[in-house]
Amino acid sequence: MQTFITKSQTTQDIIKGLELSKNLFVSSIIIGEPHTGKKSLLRQIFTDTTIISAKDKIQLESTLESCDEIIITDFELLDNISKYDLSNKKIIATANYIHNQQLIDDTFAFIYHMLPLKDRKDDVKLLASHYLECAKKDLGLNTNIDINKIDLDLSNNTKSLKQSIYRYVMRQNMNIDDIKSAIYEYIYQNLEGKNGYKEHLHIYEEPLLNAGLSKYKSQLKLSSILGINRNTLRKKILEHKIDA
């Protein structure tokens, strides 16, 4: 089974609290942004406990009738809570946000707050390395990739982090036919109107100018490499609002 990856002291304290409460009849909730690892954590600790999303009200009702211990995800979606008797159950829950502070306070003895990835710098490094290895394995890539060159996206926690790494690894794995094929797919879906040539030219020109400027540092040198006039290059740079 996959071990929950963390170096964050706060997350380790949450794990410790949950591990200790495994043998206690107490209700716990982890509150935090989506994709911060709340559900994975509970799955790892409470291996035999039934997990139900509050989205699935019918299933939730029948599980509450038959189980004394239950994991409820998306707890914030649970409306009309008075119809459920949670007081004599061991409820372990996750919520993306606090929808009713009093309800949370009254229902749960243990209220944990999972930090977003942007506040868990050590975890970002660990997870990024983990996802990079997974991506290389999944995409059959053996070359070394410098993780520091990847623009890690933490806007949607692990989900966007994983996406940004897979996208980067995929790009490293592309050959000229893959690139042509990707551009073909894009243009095929988006080409319309009366000015299609000019509107899609940036797909070629922007990466060309960005890569050239990064590689040769000087506009003079780049104009010579590209075989175009320096003024034309300058005009293109301004046109595409490239930071040169």
């Binding site: 949450i14 609290g17 200790l20 206690l24 107490v26 209700s27 003895a109 243990f110 209220i111």
Partner: protein, 232 residues
Amino acid sequence: MLDINFQSFIDSDNSPFVLFDSSAKVLYLNSSAEILFGYVTPQEIYDLALQNAPLSFGYHTTNIELSFDSFSFYAITVGYENDEQIYIRLYNTPRIKQQNKLDKSRLITTDINLLLEANLALFKTKNQAKIHLIADLDIPNFKLNQNQFSKLLRKILDSFLNAKEIEITLKFLVGEHIIIDNKRHGVIQLLIKSTHRDCSNDDDIYTLAQKSCCNVSLKENRTSIEIPLMID
């Protein structure tokens, strides 16, 4: 006139009684005073006796509100019949009887040290305070509504959220008891101390303590909970 020896009666009296000599040395104390001296020095009680002594030989009772840790008193009687000895009796403030009917079906045999450790792990996710924990690992497992009590602990610990250093002591209180449903139970005391405390949730703490049949004492910089040791 009848000559009656009241010593055995005083020995078992629930209110502390102490006899001092003129140099503040304790000549006699009953069992209740013995427990009290775990929380206050004999010198403090002696000074209290001198301050409230009658002007001449005899006895004098003063209504005075006193509290030492979780002990509170509403009056004292100080007396002396010669210049060599002085005695003091402190009158216990009656405790409010637990009104809550305890739901025994939700009581679970509990390792209080484990429950405390889980609560401290939660607290540490919110606060980086240095915690000094003195726990008595010999406390036997006893019955507790774990969820209810943990809510109380969370509220109490949260009142120390801004503390930099916290001292927590968990111990068995010798000679003390809590009566629930006419049954005497021993007492486990959880004492949490720091430099200051947030008092804004004190009403919630009192309510939750009552639901768990615990006595709680809230001071400016410390909280003490007396937990009934319900073995059966």
